[in-house]
């Protein structure tokens, strides 16, 4: 199982480190060849408009889109959540997403940096203490389609969701040193899909 972290822009190194803590040796992927070679993908935090523009400019946008559509396990945090959502609210001009995840995601929904925050969340599917979640100019999930499971909410808004092989969080587990969500991705999404032979 090879996991790549999309390395066009954002906090790539933190995701690689978190996956490393779960015993997975992940690497940054930018080029078509690199993206084709991985079995699963993490889309990091960063600026979603920048990542989408770079993906287009370097001709990997449609590749990522079609790999997600054909079942590649993918986890998006913050910008990554926006990028794998089917629909973006409050996006930049003509902002497009890779899509796949049947949800409407509102960009910068919690406000500007002055409103960025951290809090304890209950996350369905991971055991132990509440998860310390860091939200930075974070999106929230406005609505979900059929088959989308809400794993965590904050003040009535879903902030972690899963649909089959796709996982998205509004917040940044990679900044906290708590790797339970990365482990959840590896154990529940990646291993399941490799069992199914996708």
């Amino acid at each position: 199982m090879k996991i790549g972290v999309l390395a066009l822009q954002g906090d790539v190194a933190e995701h690689i480190a978190s996956l490393g803590d779960c015993g997975v040796s992940a690497s940054g992927v930018r080029s078509r060849q690199e993206i084709e070679s991985v079995d699963a993908l993490v889309i990091p935090g960063g600026e979603s408009t920048t990542i989408a523009k770079l993906a287009k400019a370097f001709g990997v946008f449609d590749l990522i889109k079609s790999r997600i559509a054909s079942g590649m396990p993918t986890y998006g945090s913050c910008a990554g959540m926006i990028l794998i959502a089917d629909q973006i609210l409050d996006g930049g001009v003509d902002q497009e997403s890779f899509g796949g995840l049947g949800a409407q995601v509102r960009r910068n929904a919690f406000g500007r940096q002055v409103d960025s925050f951290e809090t304890d969340l209950t996350f369905a599917g991971i055991g132990g203490a509440p998860f310390r979640a860091v939200f930075i100019r974070a999106p929230w999930v406005e609505s979900v389609g059929a088959g989308v499971e809400v794993l965590a909410s904050f003040n009535g808004h879903p902030v972690a969701i899963r649909q089959g092989h796709l996982l998205a969080t509004s917040f940044h587990p990679e900044l906290t040193g708590d790797n339970r969500i990365h482990r959840f991705f590896v154990d529940q999404l990646c291993k399941e899909s490799s069992k199914a032979g996708i």
């Binding site: 906090d11 600026e47 400019a57 370097f58 996006g91 960025s116 809090t119 304890d120 930075i136 940044h172």
Partner: protein, 299 residues
């Protein structure tokens, strides 16, 4: 209060984390809505809203201050990416005003005329994160000790001459490597020599890096300049005058963004360097008489 609604704002993790999200990106100086839109279209991760780019501040002289809040607000309305703004060194009231506007990051910047020749702003008092300039490791750690959540090497703003940016990036990484190679009992003297707090010095020696994100600024004018800074270890790049003082800003801005992502791929860099038109004319740092060098502001 329910457990769910107990959100903590303005923590170190939230402030430093914001800078982590900018990594591998380009932050562009813009002076109006039109430029801000060009920057966003080109793929900037954030814009720095200011009234005059450093090259104009240098050419026009006079006291350079915080920008008109009305202009900053217009830019905030016109783009969806983060908007930063500059306060004068030590001018904590300009910083209070910028925080009230909801800018995403404050740059306590030597490009503006300093307001205090002894003290920098006590940045722990703010919810909004700060980025500060540094020419060496000691200066960077003093700023972090005052609460800076991001550092940018200073370079020499408004010149288009990358040499000082190189010097400062190399100085910071050389000093980090030196600390990493020291015995633990040598770190006390190192802290004294760096004029930096011992705890931060020890942290850098242990981790081999700054505790915050390190960008480069000051004199970057071409895709190759930006890529060189990334190869020297910068997490990202600020481009000030280099874009909107060039012949074809939209094209140059997009080329610099792509070159920061593919900073280690010379084929991409060659492609991105083609046909960009005229770069900003530039001034050699050596031709600027010493009291007019911006990098010497800050202590």
């Amino acid at each position: 209060m329910t457990k769910e609604s107990s959100a903590q704002t303005g923590t170190s993790r939230v402030k430093r984390g914001m800078a982590e999200m900018l990594k591998g990106g380009v932050i562009m100086d813009v002076v109006n809505v039109e430029q801000a839109r060009i920057a966003e279209d080109a793929g900037a991760v954030a814009v720095m809203a200011l009234e005059r780019v450093p090259a104009d501040i240098r050419a026009q002289g006079g006291v350079a201050r915080m920008s008109d809040p009305g202009m900053i607000t217009e830019i905030q309305k016109s783009v969806s990416i983060p908007v930063m703004a500059k306060a004068r060194i030590g001018h904590f009231v300009e910083a209070q005003i910028l925080q009230s506007l909801g800018v995403d990051y404050i740059d306590e910047s030597e490009v503006l005329t300093p307001a205090d020749f002894t003290h920098h702003i006590d940045k722990w008092n703010f919810t909004i994160p700060f980025v500060c300039g540094a020419t060496n490791l000691g200066e960077a750690l003093r700023r972090i000790n005052e609460g800076a959540a991001m550092i940018r090497s200073k370079g020499e703003a408004g010149t288009g001459d990358v040499s000082n940016a190189t010097t400062h990036m190399r100085a910071i990484s050389d000093e980090i490597r030196r600390l990493s190679s020291m015995r633990e009992d040598e770190l006390y003297v190192a802290a004294k020599e760096l004029q930096a707090p011992y705890d931060l010095v020890k942290e850098v020696a242990t981790t081999g890096k700054l505790p915050v994100v390190l960008f480069t600024a000051g004199g970057i004018a071409t895709p190759a300049d930006a890529a060189m800074m990334m190869q020297l270890g910068a997490d990202g790049v600020f481009v000030g005058s280099g874009i909107f003082k060039s012949g074809d800003p939209a094209r140059r801005a997009a080329a610099i963004v792509k070159s920061v992502t593919f900073f280690d791929d010379a084929k991409v860099l060659a492609e991105q360097s083609k046909g960009l038109g005229e770069a900003m004319v530039g001034i050699n740092v050596a031709d600027i008489p010493a009291p007019h060098r911006l990098a010497e502001r800050g202590w």
